[in-house]
């Protein structure tokens, strides 16, 4: 830090002291990335490789390698009696794609149940969270006082571990719990059944709607005030302002939030596992099914389910990217160019609306 504090007037007189030790480097790299492109990229390329490779190595070990293992493992059956010899086999028999084709037979009932539960939870929770989250964001955006109080309280459901919030809601939905007292009737929420699904949805929406609210609020805050002023001058009603201005401009932030939440909901595990329990048909998700099979040492089918869940998540993500393309990538991968582009959109709108 000390050498950056050289008084500005001394530096030009003594260029020798400040000169870089390596003569190959441009002495004043004001824009080192643009001008001497070939040489600079060769140097930074090596440095980048050095800096990025540890992360890529770790992710290869903890993500790519297990995924390939799962693909391989899903082709094997479970240890058991070998029908030919009558002995208990010591190794897992190779069964090819049988674990996958099994989902279309009687054995697949549990898989399809878990698949539809997962889909149900994703669609229902994400829709509810989006509506509640946007409403929350609009309220918070209007509020001038008490903003830090709201911001703090909105982070509380997010910070509580999902496992703990599962227990918390189990207590609320207990047969003699507060939920039934408030409703004035006896609903067996945490027994297996449709009410169990509702309990999971309520608990999940409570935990994550504020988070969507937070992301949407961030999106709202970058919309320039002038847009609304112009719209008001043109006589747009509050509802028109919401549909025509707020929603389109906040769309990129909202889409990123919805995508993140969808992918999160597709892998839901902790909440139904703790709130209702393992192997409960009404709430069993694909994650729960795969984990349960694996913990019962049925690694082949477990891997097949895990691979299918992975493909499901991948397809949903791909659909989002395809449908919403640039908006989404602008939000996710945002380089500097993209950022300035994102800011430019509202400005152009200002002119459009003001014109």
């Amino acid at each position: 830090m000390a050498d950056t504090a050289i008084p500005p007037d001394t530096a030009p007189h003594q260029p020798g002291t400040a000169a870089p030790r390596r003569p190959g480097r441009p002495p004043a790299p004001q824009r080192p990335r643009r001008r001497p492109r070939s040489r600079a990229t060769a140097g930074t390329g090596r440095l980048a490789a050095l800096l990025v490779s540890p992360t890529l190595l770790v992710l290869t070990i903890v993500v790519l390698y297990p995924t390939l293992m799962a693909l391989d493992e899903s082709l094997y059956g479970t240890k058991g009696l070998d029908p030919k010899t009558g002995f208990i086999s010591a190794t897992e028999p190779f069964v090819g794609l049988k674990n996958y084709t099994d989902i279309f037979t009687q054995a697949g009932d549990r898989f399809w149940n878990a698949f539809w539960n997962t889909t149900f939870f994703t669609v229902v929770t994400v829709s509810l969270e989006t509506v509640i989250g946007v409403a929350m964001a609009l309220i918070m955006h209007r509020a001038f006082r008490g903003r830090s109080l709201v911001r703090a309280s909105i982070l509380v459901p997010w910070a509580i571990p999902t496992a703990i919030s599962g227990l918390l809601w189990k207590w609320i939905f207990n047969a003699d719990g507060i939920a039934n007292v408030l409703l004035g009737r006896q609903v067996l929420w945490t027994a297996d059944g449709f009410s169990a699904k509702i309990a999971v949805v309520i608990a999940d929406v409570w935990k994550t709607a504020p988070f969507i609210g937070l992301l949407v609020l961030a999106g709202l805050q970058v919309i320039p005030k002038e847009v609304y002023e112009a719209a008001r001058l043109d006589g747009a009603s509050a509802l028109q302002q919401f549909w025509r201005i707020t929603l389109p401009l906040v769309k990129p932030a909202l889409l990123v939030a919805v995508l993140f939440r969808c992918l999160d909901a597709l892998r839901m595990f902790d909440l139904p596992y703790i709130l209702i329990g393992a192997q409960k048909g009404s709430v069993e998700t694909l994650s729960m099914l795969a984990q349960n099979e694996a913990s019962n040492v049925r690694f082949g089918p477990a891997s097949a389910y895990a691979v299918l869940l992975f493909l499901y998540v991948f397809l949903i993500a791909l659909a989002f990217v395809r449908l919403l393309g640039a908006d989404l990538i602008g939000g996710v991968g945002g380089t500097k160019k993209r950022k300035s582009h994102a800011v430019r959109v509202p400005r152009r709108r200002v002119r459009e609306v003001a014109a």
């Binding site: 002291t17 790299p29 540890p54 509020a143 496992a163 805050q221 984990q291 694996a294």
Partner: protein, 277 residues
């Protein structure tokens, strides 16, 4: 002026009250329930008739092994956070500052990893770790946790580094620092708040982890706090010990809530950095 004008004035306040109540009511219920005595536990009054720390005493009784579980959580989440931050700082610096081929692709891949269903890696790793005898070890929980903490940390730090002006390190390099020195002496100290925020967010993610810790342990002494609480047993087989579960829940959550209250501004900045831009 009129009734509607008055409404307009009060509506935002009412809205705020609703939002705060929505977020805090269930947490408040956990807090209140944890302070009730056993005989009082099914009471539905808003305040405990007598404040009792019975549940907290039973949570920390030696038979429960909860202190050990807290220590396990601290070790697993702490080491996971430290390792993720170390690697992520280097990667995020490269992502924010250097131009190189496949940069966007690599960043997209890293972020995509955090969206990965954890169970897809838990199943094969469970088999591998069973074969090599890693079940009930810290590393069996730390290594898989890196799969989601590392991308999270890279993503967060990249946005923080991008917000810092380029001129800082250029000035340092003009003054004779190499890129590495500029990074160590100028960038890292100035990015400390960002690194700190990322550490909090990463730590919370690792601390809240359940699926990996559940699958990789079967010995109570190696379970993390979230798993241990879910397995608390009551006095009788059919009774769930809600009192002590709520108390333990409060103990596990309070540090996070305190962190959130202290650093809310920074945490919000970290969480929303990606979505708003």
């Amino acid at each position: 002026m009129t009734l509607t004008a008055k409404w307009r004035q009060w509506l935002p306040h009412l809205g705020i009250a609703v939002v705060v109540a929505y977020c805090l009511a269930p947490f408040y219920w956990m807090l209140v329930s944890s302070l009730r005595s056993t005989g009082d536990i099914f009471s539905t009054s808003l305040f405990p008739s007598t404040v009792s720390f019975e549940n907290y005493r039973s949570v920390f009784s030696p038979g429960q092994g909860f202190t050990r579980a807290l220590l396990n959580s601290l070790i697993v989440a702490g080491i996971t956070t430290a390792m993720s931050l170390l690697l992520a700082t280097f990667t995020a610096y490269a992502m924010a500052r250097l131009e190189f081929r496949f940069k966007r692709l690599i960043l997209t891949l890293i972020i995509a990893t955090s969206m990965f269903p954890v169970v897809s890696i838990v199943v094969p790793l469970l088999k591998l770790f069973t074969d090599i005898g890693w079940i009930n070890t810290y590393q069996s929980m730390i290594v898989p946790s890196m799969s989601f903490t590392l991308p999270l940390a890279v993503w967060n730090l990249t946005t923080f580094f991008r917000q810092m002006p380029d001129e800082l390190e250029h000035a340092a390099m003009v003054d004779g620092c190499t890129r590495g020195q500029a990074f160590r002496r100028v960038i890292v100290p100035l990015a400390a708040p960002g690194i700190f925020t990322t550490a909090i967010i990463t730590f919370i993610a690792a601390w809240n982890e359940f699926l990996i810790a559940l699958s990789m342990t079967n010995k109570p002494s190696m379970q993390t706090a979230t798993v241990a609480i879910s397995k608390f047993s009551g006095a009788t087989t059919y009774q769930t010990p809600f009192g002590s579960q709520m108390a333990a829940g409060v103990v596990v959550t309070i540090p996070l809530v305190v962190m959130v209250l202290l650093f809310q501004r920074r945490i919000v900045a970290g969480l929303t950095a990606g979505a708003a831009k």
